[in-house]
Subunit: 364 residues, 2 copies
């Protein structure tokens, strides 16, 4: 596969311009560019600029009737008697802008109280949950987020009809001092994403078992027959997906099957976010052999990956290696097809990419 | 299978006496009896009185060299500048007594700050994590706990040697007003427990795939060849198990492979606990159609279980039905073998069970 290296600053200007061109404020556009940059730097192709702007077009500002995302919307911070938690109505503001502010607020609360929580109602897709907790973990915090995914595409364990989102969970652990990068546990609660099913279909491949069902609710391995997805790990993944729906329901999320769809008079159609940060000092007790907390982390991780387990990959390690590769290449790495899509975005917002900003990737 | 109904008060007196007979204080013994009662009432046979006292014998007060649990130990609450979190050194106090006090403390913190966290170092097995969060959810809170399981029996994804515990996660959601019982998501991060593998061996059955490995680290379905367990859901369950080890490492847990074992000069050998409670009011924003938070929960759950999904079971529902059955039977239900084991415990602590306290179970 031919790969190209895009100058990071050019990428950021392009993405920000594409967002301001659609009516977003400069601050919102910068947040969008920042998350797309982080995603591309860490090899998260499912949430790069192309996907983000496509999502905005389909469900966000580009959706003519009842847009899911409103440029320039203001976060309303609701009054609360509880000091370590906040409850926000995002009023459909750009998800990335809300998420960056929420995780930052959680960190400030954790600095003061040991733990901080921000619950967000009336949200729009924040794209890559792992990005926010990774950034927080790099700043030294234990961070967690979950959200309700846009569409209900997943069948509850034992059911037939999709009534759950792919509802991801993302944990970031501050392990950079111990191993050189933060451990990030970040995945959807479905076995596969719907995008992967479509990829299997294009490539004429068979799905793994227990990943999807057909229109009758029967398990299928034929990607062309897929009507809905299944949770990973049977009842366990189902429980994890259900948690996001219930947390969203406590926050203010409405019926899952109406989310990001039309219908249901006076129902809401927005996802919800939950963010939480813990200050590692707040849970630090006593460490054996006079170790510091960081040294203890390092010793525990070395024990887990010792005893012949050196072939194991830590969660977040693949993303770390992708970032190292970008570092060596001197920019963000994209495939030929992705560069073509970025050129289309550049044409949309009248920002021609300087020829010198794109170079072939030496290591591709 | 013949089943018997044991008078609940007799059960509680028996279990408390068995613990005081081993040197535990009356308060500790009452906590132990309470959790065993809850476990038996909810059909959790893996954590009833027989198992609890057997565990205490093997790893707790009965372990001659370096007991894992010390009767009468006092919790040391370490000073902290953070007001919504606490850090405790349990000094190997009985796990159930520590866990009940920890979840209670989290609730008080959540009443004040919206969220409360208690981290526990130098702990001893708390048995049934689901019990503490279920009780908290019944009192109206969103509760969560994780812990490091006694022994490292689980191989990290892609590895060969067991360096992770079966590390459970337990979430309790206050849904009683909506559906009649709290939703409780509670399971180990291994595909099976080691006790289940032994049961498969006794019954001459084959294990499911991807549940265990042999001594060479190769996957096996032969229960007699099992040397270690595998996480559920491949890298996803691995990540979830790893979270408990890392949270424990931030708290003060030492090398996983030494936990509850001997060796490693000046290393610690104790599990760690993490507890967290969120007040549902602290995250409540705005609900569609003028619903209350409780009505919103009910509507969301009805949507998830609607559309032909009425065959789905909610997490916690099986435990709820077990409690209903005990209610109808007028006591705690035990098998014939369990009654025999309880009689042995009764002999140990010289508390003969009154004949009238045990009756055949009408519905068995």
């Amino acid at each position: 596969m031919n790969e190209y290296v895009l100058d990071p600053k050019t990428h950021d200007v392009l993405v920000a311009r594409a967002y301001t061109h659609r009516g977003y404020t400069p601050d919102e556009a910068d947040c969008a560019a920042k998350l797309c940059h982080m995603a591309s730097r860490h090899g998260i192709k499912t949430h790069n600029a192309i996907k983000a702007l496509h999502l905005d077009h389909l469900f966000g500002s580009g959706k003519a009737d009842n847009p899911g995302c409103v440029p320039g919307a203001q976060i309303e911070k609701l009054p609360s008697k509880f000091r370590a938690t906040q409850r926000w109505n995002a009023h459909k503001k750009l998800g990335q802008a809300v998420a960056f502010e929420a995780i930052d607020t959680c960190e400030k609360l954790a600095d003061q109280f040991g733990v901080g929580v921000v619950a967000v109602d009336e949200a729009f897709h924040y794209l890559w949950g792992g990005g926010y907790v990774m950034a927080s973990a790099k700043r030294g915090y234990i961070a967690y987020t979950n959200c309700t995914a846009a569409l209900a595409e997943v069948v509850p364990f034992g059911g037939k009809h999709p009534t759950l989102g792919t509802n991801p969970h993302s944990w970031g652990l501050p392990t950079t001092d111990a191993i050189g990068f933060p451990i990030v546990v970040d995945w959807a609660t479905s076995t596969l994403a719907m995008g992967r099913v479509q990829q299997f279909a294009r490539e004429g491949k068979t799905l793994p078992p227990d990943a999807a069902v057909d229109k009758n609710g029967k398990p299928t391995q034929d990607p062309n027959a897929v009507a809905a997805l299944l949770p990973f790990g049977a009842h366990k993944g189902y429980g994890l997906s259900l948690i996001n729906e219930l947390v969203a329901a406590y926050i203010g999320g409405s019926l899952p099957t109406l989310r990001c769809r039309v219908g249901g008079e006076n129902e809401k159609h927005t996802p919800s976010f939950f963010f939480q940060v813990i200050h590692p000092d707040a849970i630090a007790c006593d460490f054996a052999k006079g170790r510091s907390q960081k040294e203890n982390l390092k010793a525990v991780i070395a024990d887990i990956l010792g005893h012949g387990n050196d072939g194991c990959i830590l969660p977040g390690e693949i993303e770390h290696r992708a970032a190292q590769r970008c570092e060596q290449a001197g920019g963000l790495i994209f495939s030929e097809a992705e560069i073509a899509a970025l050129r289309e975005l550049a044409a949309e917002c009248q920002y021609p990419l300087p020829p010198s900003s794109i170079k072939p990737c030496a290591s591709s």
